[in-house]
């Protein structure tokens, strides 16, 4: 039994309970895994119309200083210095050993010198201590536990948010702006974790419930729990930290080299830069890829992957049922020689080989709003 007394609550906790949310521990918080509609309906509704997610458990912070972008580049191989005003980007927080301490989003708000960061819930305390320690004297990290974070995701998200924040629908993918949402001062980015068009809305905790109720009051919007958040991101081929990537995996094995900027590859001026570039050029023994099992049985996290001779060649790191595809999907690490799309493998489910194919990700095409 989990002692729920020790779990933290987001500013929307009472609303989740009122909406009939089934509460479970996640990342140190008591969070809704689903509402009465259930994971399947919540998932499909998000792809069809719009879903509202409480992601206030994630860590928000500002990084200030003379040149916070230059400072943060030491810990992250993305192009942070070159990020234009009003833009957001994905980055990896690296360990000294060249493995992944976390993945996070960073933004440069127009007219502001500090960077705005969003990191994972379960890792935020460790991340913040790590960043503050490593950048001591060159940048100042200011965690913002006073802020809530909502995600409004799905094809109707633009039309819905426009009603509460006129002009916001002009924002395109990975752009970020300060504005008001239902009268509350907000930082809004056009991004998310579902593969759909949508927004992430950072507001002060005191306004969270009012803003959430305003958005839930729209016909197109249903509240969505962590269960559907997981199945949506899996179909979108997006990594879940602590499962698909962690401090034992590196950016090259994880197939996240796209997040390392060209300038950074040449300069290698980040933690374990030499070691990571060696992997970029020479490859890694294993690689993260997608899998489509035959039939309907899901292959869950921890499932072993065998080649057709029965030799174990990898492991599933995320797996489940994809409601949009009405079929199981999975991702995991496999020996690089077997990582090509279409390769036949067996997933060992309950002792029996379940035939599957290495498959391209995303499993469901992304539908980001790249242009107006």
């Amino acid at each position: 039994m989990t002692d729920t007394e020790d779990l933290k609550k987001t500013p929307l906790h009472a609303l989740h309970v009122e909406l009939g949310g089934k509460m479970v521990p996640f990342g140190g918080y008591d969070m809704p895994v689903q509402y009465p509609a259930g994971i399947l309906k919540e998932h499909l509704h998000t792809r069809e119309k719009a879903g509202l997610f409480d992601v206030s458990h994630m860590g928000q912070a500002f990084l200030a200083g003379a040149d916070p972008a230059r400072a943060l580049e030491r810990l992250c191989p993305a192009d942070i210095v070159g990020l234009k005003e009003g833009m957001q980007r994905y980055g990896l927080l690296m360990t000294e050993q060249g493995t992944i301490k976390d993945d996070f989003m960073f933004s440069r708000l127009a007219g502001e010198s500090a960077l705005y960061l969003v990191v994972n819930a379960g890792t935020k305390d460790g991340d913040f201590a790590y960043i503050a320690g490593k950048l001591d004297g060159v940048a100042v990290l200011e965690p913002r536990p006073d802020r809530a974070l909502l995600a409004l995701q799905g094809p109707a998200a633009g039309a819905v948010l426009e009603r509460h924040s006129p002009g916001i629908d002009k924002l395109t993918f990975m752009k970020v702006v300060r504005c008001t949402v239902a009268g509350a001062p907000a930082i809004v980015s056009r991004s998310g974790y579902t593969g759909e068009d949508g927004f992430e809305i950072s507001i002060e905790a005191i306004h969270a419930e009012r803003v959430a109720r305003a958005l839930l009051g729209e016909d197109e919007v249903l509240p969505i729990g962590l269960g559907a958040r997981d199945s949506l991101r899996l179909e979108a081929g997006l990594c879940l930290y602590g499962h698909d990537i962690d401090e034992t995996t590196d950016p090259v094995s994880a197939n996240l080299v796209w997040s390392i900027a060209k300038r950074r590859k040449l300069d290698k001026d980040f933690l374990a830069g030499e070691a990571i570039m060696d992997k970029v050029f020479n490859g890694t023994p294993t690689k993260r890829v997608g899998f489509r099992p035959d039939g309907r049985a899901p292959a869950r996290e921890g499932t072993e992957i065998a080649d057709k001779s029965g030799r174990i060649v990898g492991k599933i790191t995320s797996g489940g049922f994809g409601p949009t595809l009405n079929a199981p999907v999975a991702m995991g690490y496999i020996e690089t020689a077997l990582a090509a799309d279409g390769t036949d493998v067996d997933l060992i489910v309950r002792g029996k080989p379940l035939p599957a194919k290495v498959a391209p990700m995303p499993f469901v095409p992304h539908r980001y709003r790249r242009a107006i």
């Binding site: 399947l40 309906k41 269960g227 997981d230 199945s231 309907r296 899901p298 199981p328 309950r350």
Partner: protein, 124 residues
């Protein structure tokens, strides 16, 4: 006359003569959420009381289904292979999992009656 009994693992068993039909309770189906796959035992397989007999997978997780009583599997429910959502729609009817030829009718006495099970669920 058929008799229905329940386990603390939330299976039900309905007995007609020496044939037992087994499924999961409404409570279990609600806890699991949307069922997307059911792995059923093959005819002829022998299972002991309390032994793992089937697996039910929801979007979120996999759960074992145990045989409330021992016996030889007669058939799995073919309708669940086509439409696993029947487990949610009618868990104690059309959503049955498998049928057994009972080995020992005496094992039924160790299981809960409907009233006992309802009381048990209330206490959870």
């Amino acid at each position: 006359m058929s008799e229905v009994r329940f386990t603390d693992q939330h299976e039900w068993v309905r007995v007609d003569g020496d044939e037992a039909t087994i499924g999961i309770t409404k409570y279990a189906a609600e806890q699991l959420g949307d069922v997307v796959f059911v792995d059923l035992p093959e005819a002829g397989r022998k299972v002991g009381a309390g032994g793992e007999a089937a697996v039910v997978e929801s979007v979120k997780a996999a759960s074992e289904v145990y045989a409330p009583v021992g016996g030889e599997v007669v058939a799995g429910n073919p309708a669940l292979t086509e439409d696993p959502a029947k487990v949610n729609a009618d868990p104690e009817g059309e959503g049955w999992f498998f049928k057994l030829k009972l080995a020992d009718k005496g094992e039924l006495a160790k299981l809960m009656t409907k009233d006992q099970y309802d009381e048990f669920v209330k206490g959870l």
